[in-house]
Amino acid sequence: MTIDRSRLPVPGPDRPFRFPRIVKRTLTNGLEVRAVRHQSVPVASIVLLVPGGSSVDPCDRQGLVSMTAGLLDEGSRGQSALEISDRLARIGGEVDIEAGMDAVVVGLTTLDRFFEKGLGLLHEMVVEPNLADDDFNRIRSLRFERLKQLKDHAPALAERVFARVLYGAHPYGRLSLGAEAGLTPMTVSEIRALHAAMFAPAGSTLVIVGNRPEEALLDLAARTFDSWRAAASPMTIDRSAALADPPEMPQSRLGVVPRPGAAQSELRIGHVCAPRSTPDYPVLLILNAIVGGEFVSRLNLNLREGKGYTYGVRTGFNLRRGLGPFVMQTSVGTDVTAPAIHEAHEEIRAIAASRPATADEVAEAIASMSKGYPRGFETASQVARSVAQLALHNLPDSYFEDFAPRLARVTTDDVSAAAQRHLQHGKMTTLIVGDLDQIHESLPGLGLGAHQVLPADL
């Protein structure tokens, strides 16, 4: 049987896919529960989303939220961290606690036959953690060690310094992990106060996903979480701290964190951009795919496939409740640092000016993102996390179904307009973490002004 190799087969029509159906119930204590029946492997996934996140850290206590989140699985209801860990291991449970900028997300995945036990454990960890002095000291020491180790990790350094340079004193200017200055004076009473103030049923969302009828899932959640009550706290937190205005964007600037002898230059280019709530969101997804979000993006095809400067480059509009950044990130050879920066700037500038997105590029990006969309709903934990994101950003239950049709309405003009509005080439900050001695002579030629040497400051 011979096949026609003169041209590529044209893909057939999309098969229908039913996106998760969300069934909701608000418990008497104000906790919103969202259940999804996921008919696949007998795996249960539970996600609790508590809004606020690290952006509520007091200025002089950076890392407070993340430390509190990190202590949730270090002992609860009078049982030690070892006992909790043992119970978790016996149900094959995997706990994942993430203190993001906008929310703390506590996830637990287990086997369906351990659903009740898993939910009970998650409840204990979130509602009745011990927050004991000794555990606090232990976890804080590990945190200090982690911070120390990150000093040698170029991408971590770049991430931290870049956030600080873009956002200054704004909550997004720091990392969740915290910093020594905030961790050193921190006390366990502050952790307890933060826990009481932040972890409350009203405003939080519990997502529960498994292969059981939605009503059964909701009943199970209600039985476990109905008794959760908000606690009194001496601490007041501002869950909207991140909505404050970041500093005015300066003109182009170039910063360098010197790393003598570094094998590569770690690069970041970007600026403060937009909130997740921007009506341009779908357009920005398309714009990003074209400029740097995919393997076939302009930046990757140029810097990697064209010039061989890097193993890969990616961009992202990291949109959040407050104004999130646009960031390009890559790691390039020391000897090609300046040309790589030059090319990257040219690509970012061009898509907003001389080489706007073409109709083909837009059509391809839309096809790529919408046809591949069902892939994100394969596992129970993927579904649970996606549903939690809807809660965080106040998106409708129909969001998943509407996603592809919304993308399909994006036009080439929309993308050009969004590029001009959201990629302000004259206001980009460029950061290099690399061997300054090797590259300093090439920097003036970039036309980004005199470079500023920045401390690593972790």
Partner: protein, 434 residues
Amino acid sequence: MQIPFKKKTLGNGLDVIVHEDHQLPMVAVNLWYHVGSKNEVPGRTGFAHLFEHLMFEGSQHHDHGYFPPLQRAGGQLNGSTNADRTNYWEVVPTGALDLALWMESDRMGFLLPALSDAKFNNQRDVVLNERRQNYENRPYGLAGIALSAAMFAPDHPYHWPTIGSADDIRAASLAMVREFFETYYHPANASLSLAGDVEADRAFDLAERYFGDLPAGPQVARVERGASLDDSVSLVLEDRVELPRLYISWHSPAMFASDDAELDIAADVLTHGKTSRLHKTLVYERRVAADVSAYHHSREMGGQFQIVCTAAAGVTLAELNTAIRTAIEELAAQGPTADELERGVAQTDAQFVYRLQTIGGFGGKGDQLNAYNTFVGDPGYFGRDRQRYFDVTGRGVASAVSRWVAAARSVSLSVVPKGRRDLALTGAAEVQVS
């Protein structure tokens, strides 16, 4: 528990394995070539991986990038190389299955006519960047390379890292690419799986249609080499790190061989979770370590049992070494408690279930079917693989730890901050890796 499948071997020797799962409107295409860095020779290291990169640069009938048509169709794709094998995968919407198979078969059958110096030079630069980014510019990034070099003799195929030496990568030539392709990239040395939203009959028809005409290619000789240490070795590597870290490595059984599962459970008992022995003593109670992990990394020709432990500030690696050796002696002497064994097996069992959640990508069902087919000749080995862990006994763990670890020679590697050789184990010999 199983991954249900059907298997056929085409006339040219290509194994085709199909697993139906209609949950998503997607099909996972997964293709293994039974070639990895173990098929390389000294002086030409890093070649299998560099070659993998070239597989994404276009083939005779589609002499453009491999990514665009598939991404445009909503597909996701990647590939990877290790010592034993190279895999390639696409997860595509059901309607794009023909496209994915057309593309995979074109690069299997017709890669060479599309190769050029320009593509080759470009990807060589990309790989050198990858090496600098992921190994040279990463804290502790060269430790694995130093360890393998010390564990295996210079001509043993596990002596060198899959990423290869920078000098060898620079010296690679287009002529070597042709030779490599002709030796290893053909149906008789490959295994294709299709998992997801496709009916088995149609899947086999498509496989025959796209791959059936390709010539079988030569038989690939199996690489067989034993490995052992004449003496225990202690090395020190200075690196740009803040905290010293100790690596200890022992030779251990090949994957699926006797004692393989026992050593997996031993690693679990030692460092998985806070209640594990070493985590509990070193990190939780005594707080002398920032982290500790043990794993049994078994491969086709043999395995390595490894323990990695990072010191807390101010703690010497000697102290950690003593604690680790003591824990091993105890495990070898008494084995795990019934409680520890039960917990270890429960965790492993859950991992097997979690592995059934995805059709494609690295570690998805399609990848597992090919792994079992390539390494044990039976795509249906999932159930037996899992059963091995239920069959593990405390006595079995004790005897495996005793034989392969406690009583065996090891390589210790102290990775210390620059200029702090004093933090290494005493008597450690300096090692340099570039």
